[in-house]
């Protein structure tokens, strides 16, 4: 019977899986949840695509049209917003899970694909941030681009390429839109496909060797579990989209920066670090984080089996990762909630 129902999904999944693959604590369903976000993003993005115009004079009005006049337009935009931020958070959590279980062992290629995906998600989020062309997005992009310029050698070039000049302007809007709506979705799809394909090539989820007797057929259990996670994620996204409104402030005014002007939340941690020290926050810290993540599979010489949470002989890398993650979260929290006018420390209430 299984033979007759063979379809594309069977190629993505192994025939038989470990029983522990299905256990909720193994993966926490983060990968599938992220995949669902990506699907929602592509669908809602394609719809928004039909109504948006990347031009300074009308971009803001098109967003007003989408949110207030278009039937279900507000829901659609909120869904895109919630899914975009959800994807970023889920991707970061997924990365955390893979690191803390040491699942990158002997899968360094897929680990790299994952990092590329994370970068792509960040850039996609950043480029999408500008499109409403309101006060907050305009100045956040301005801050973000100048943060990039702190990086020696390549930084000013990247910033210039992204801005299409020295200022956030017409060119920046066009470039953001082109990247956001064509280049990045394509790259995201390609790398997601590679990411999934590598899991299959590497023999399913990373796990300690197991008795053949503990294996289950993938169908229907794995499919059902994945579907359940996907449906739950979708339900959560729609519920959040009903409650959370995607922010829309006043039209962008290049002459009047809000005080303080903050980068998008995922870069506020870097902004906070740069406010302490430009060299450390703008160059050293991003470099250390980047290199640490990039070369983790090669530095990790522990002998424990992959797929186990908090393996004893991996306390060193785990501790380093947790420290980095917590410090980044702390920097984001301080920058986001504790910084007031002129970047002064203040209480959030």
């Amino acid at each position: 019977m299984a033979q007759s129902r063979r379809n594309f999904l069977h190629h993505l999944h192994p025939v038989r899986i470990n029983r522990r693959t299905l256990h909720p604590a193994t993966t926490l369903g983060l990968g599938v949840a992220g995949l669902t976000c990506l699907a929602v993003l592509l669908l809602s993005g394609l719809t928004l695509f039909l109504y948006y115009v990347p031009e300074q004079a009308v971009a803001y009005e098109r967003i007003l049209h989408i949110t207030t006049t278009l039937p279900y337009g507000r829901l659609l935009r909120n869904l895109h917003y919630v899914a975009a931020n959800g994807l970023l958070i889920l991707a970061a959590l997924h990365l955390t899970r893979v690191f803390l279980t040491g699942s990158y062992k002997e899968r360094s290629l897929n680990w790299i694909y994952g990092l590329v995906l994370l970068m792509l998600i960040l850039v996609a989020n950043f480029t999408g941030y500008l499109l409403p062309w309101d006060q907050i997005s305009y100045w956040a992009i301005k801050v973000g681009a100048s943060l990039a310029a702190y990086f020696p050698l390549v930084g000013p070039g990247i910033s210039r390429f992204f801005l299409g000049g020295d200022q956030v302007g017409e060119e920046t809007l066009l470039r953001s839109f082109a990247l956001h709506a064509s280049v990045l979705p394509l790259l995201l799809l390609v790398f997601t496909a590679l990411h999934l394909w590598r899991i299959r090539k590497d023999g399913g989820l990373a796990a300690p060797p197991q008795d053949e007797s503990q294996k289950l057929p993938a169908g229907p259990w794995l499919y059902r579990a994945e579907t359940a996670v996907a449906l739950l994620t979708l339900a959560a996204l729609i519920a959040l989209a009903l409650v959370l409104d995607a922010p829309l402030h006043e039209r962008a005014d290049p002459l009047h920066p809000p005080n303080p002007a903050k980068a998008p939340w995922y870069f506020v941690g870097f902004q906070e670090m740069v406010s302490w020290s430009a060299t450390f926050g703008g160059v050293v810290a991003p470099l250390v984080i980047g290199l640490f993540l990039l070369f983790a599979p090669w530095f990790d010489h522990s002998r424990s089996h992959p797929g186990l949470w908090f393996a004893r002989d991996r306390w060193g890398p785990n501790l380093a990762f947790i420290t980095l993650a917590l410090s980044q979260i702390a920097f984001i929290a301080v920058g986001l909630w504790l910084r007031g006018k002129n970047w002064q420390l203040q209480l959030p209430f």
Partner: protein, 549 residues
């Protein structure tokens, strides 16, 4: 025999649960968002107009049929209140709504379409009498029916001499002292403009814009005019603006017949918008009634040309005068000797000459104190200061004035006995200690043979002094706003030129009572103290150093 692993039992219930949850949420979303109603079952009224060459699309008439009030907001309940006033020859069909009323025409949500509250509010809806803020975006600035207040606002703008600090495109000349207001209407809401005029120091806190004595109504009028200064005036092409074809009527023409017959050059040059002269009082700047007696012609000439040279930090803008104009003005000022009654009562003298800055309560917070570069000395509650200053110095301050500040030399106006009487009055009424009650100070450390090197002195200054006095010594360090009197501007050349080294050293060594300047006696050695004195000399570029480094 292999034992088959258990089938996970939780998967099926979870799948069912997830499907149910999704179903619920989708149904809720479809229902809520359908009724979430920004446009309940109404056809969207989409109008597109051509406003000065740019296409404007808006949905305003969906909720305001025919330009009328939304039926739900029409509390009067009568049809007349719902109708848009007759504005012929304007018509909604050709001009649309947002050209004059602003707001966001594409939004159908009340909050968004009326312009978001808070923030800059550039697009906040103008309604009722506020609408005249839009008239002069198209019409030339001239008396216009319906825009009376905006026109009066322009007259006020000129008569209060706002243009001597702020530039506005279309005026023949304008100051560059304050921000350019040529396009302010495109950036700020009426409310924000009014707030900026009424409470200039609300944001930014270190502004030097004075708080003008304007009524709420007058401020509104000026704001109506300013709101019409937009980046893209609708019926003037950029080329017309560039060529100066779009001009504002100059000051003289506006109030030509209203200048009184005994018009003084002060009134004609709008000095009295800020200064006092006799009965007329701008309530911003010092009294000019006796200025001819107090200040030399040279002083006045230099001050008019470069206010900051004589009183560093002065908020007086540099006014552009033609040669004849300035000659007439200076001649007029020099002729004003002021009139004082013979042997007037010291109380009258104080109220006449001192209280404008030092306040009737003697606390230094006089009427024009916020606009002065230096805080007037407080008398009340400042006994420690007066005990620390030898009597001759106080007499000298009144007689010779204080160089580098607005304190004029009164010896040219008052007889020595009158000055003595005023000082006695100040001691009795405010200071609260006897004139001869002076504290004694430990002698200053001797100036050592060698001082610290330049780098060491700079480092010492940055560490000890720059938080208040600033790294450049301008008195605007990061903490300068915490203190009133503000930290001394160390680059005030005229002030420090008149100061002997000993007094600078004394101020550092023992502090200055009644100010934020603390005593550094226990923290500085002789070498450090005297190095800082010389650092101050360098900042102020005063050369009466009696020794080289």
């Amino acid at each position: 025999m292999k034992t088959p692993p258990d089938i996970p039992r939780w998967i099926n219930p979870l799948l069912v649960l997830a499907a149910l949850a999704l179903l619920t949420v989708v149904v809720a979303a479809l229902a809520l968002e359908r009724r979430g109603g920004h446009h309940p079952d109404r056809q969207i009224a989409d109008i597109t107009v051509n406003l000065a060459g740019s296409t404007v699309r808006e949905h305003c008439t969906t909720c305001h049929p025919g330009g009328a009030l939304h039926p739900a907001h029409d509390q009067a309940g009568n049809d007349s209140a719902r109708k848009h006033p007759d504005i012929a020859p304007h018509s909604i069909d050709t001009l649309g709504c947002t050209g004059c009323h602003l707001g966001e025409g594409m939004a159908m949500d009340q909050v968004l379409s009326h312009g978001l509250p808070g923030g800059l509010g550039a697009r906040q809806v103008l309604k009722g009498k506020q609408l005249q803020a839009s008239c002069f975006t198209c019409h030339p600035v001239a008396p216009l029916a319906g825009a009376e207040k905006a026109w009066q606002g322009y007259q006020l703008f000129l008569s209060r001499a706002c243009d001597s600090c702020h530039h506005i495109a279309g005026l023949q000349q304008g100051g560059r002292f304050g921000p350019d207001l040529s396009t302010i209407g495109s950036h700020l809401s009426l409310e924000r403009i009014i707030e900026a005029i009424r409470e200039p120091d609300a944001d930014p806190v270190n502004t030097i814009m004075p708080r003008y004595p304007l009524s709420r109504g007058q401020t509104e009028k000026i704001a109506y005019f300013l709101k019409s200064r937009v980046a893209e005036p609708k019926f003037a092409t950029p080329m017309q603006i560039q060529a100066g074809l779009v001009s504002l009527p100059p000051w003289q023409q506006v109030l030509a017949e209203e200048i009184p017959a005994e018009a003084t050059p002060l009134a004609r040059n709008r000095c009295l918008a800020c200064h006092q002269f006799g009965e007329t009082d701008g309530r911003i700047a010092p009294d000019l009634t006796s200025i001819g007696a107090l200040r030399s012609a040279d002083y006045l000439k230099t001050y008019l040309a470069e206010p900051n040279r004589l009183v560093p930090g002065s908020t007086m803008p540099r006014v552009q005068f033609e040669e004849a104009q300035s000659k007439e003005l200076l001649g007029f000022l020099a002729a004003q000797k002021g009139e004082l009654a013979h042997q007037p009562d010291p109380k009258q003298l104080y109220m006449h000459l001192c209280q404008r800055c030092h306040a009737a309560a003697g606390d230094g917070r006089g009427l024009i104190q916020p606009n002065l570069a230096n805080f007037p000395r407080a008398f009340a509650g400042n006994a420690e200061f007066f005990r620390s200053v030898p009597d001759p110095r106080i007499v000298e301050s009144v007689r010779k004035g204080v160089a580098g500040t607005s304190m004029p030399p009164y010896e040219y106006l008052l007889k020595p006995q009158a000055i003595e009487a005023v000082i006695d009055l100040i001691y009795n009424a405010f200071v609260g200690v006897a004139r001869d009650d002076k504290s004694t100070f430990a002698p200053l450390p001797e100036k050592p043979e060698s001082l610290l090197s330049q780098d060491e002195t700079d480092e010492l200054f940055d560490r000890r002094c720059s938080a208040c006095h600033g790294r450049a010594g301008t008195g605007r360090g990061p903490r300068h706003l915490e203190f009133l009197p503000r930290p001394r501007n160390l680059t005030n050349t005229p002030y420090f030129a008149a100061l002997p080294n000993g007094r600078i050293a004394r101020a550092i060594y023992d502090g200055v009572p009644g100010t934020g300047m603390a005593s550094f006696r226990n923290e500085l050695g002789a070498q450090e103290l005297w190095s800082l004195v010389y650092r101050v000399r360098e900042f102020s570029q005063t050369s009466n150093m009696d020794g080289k480094r």
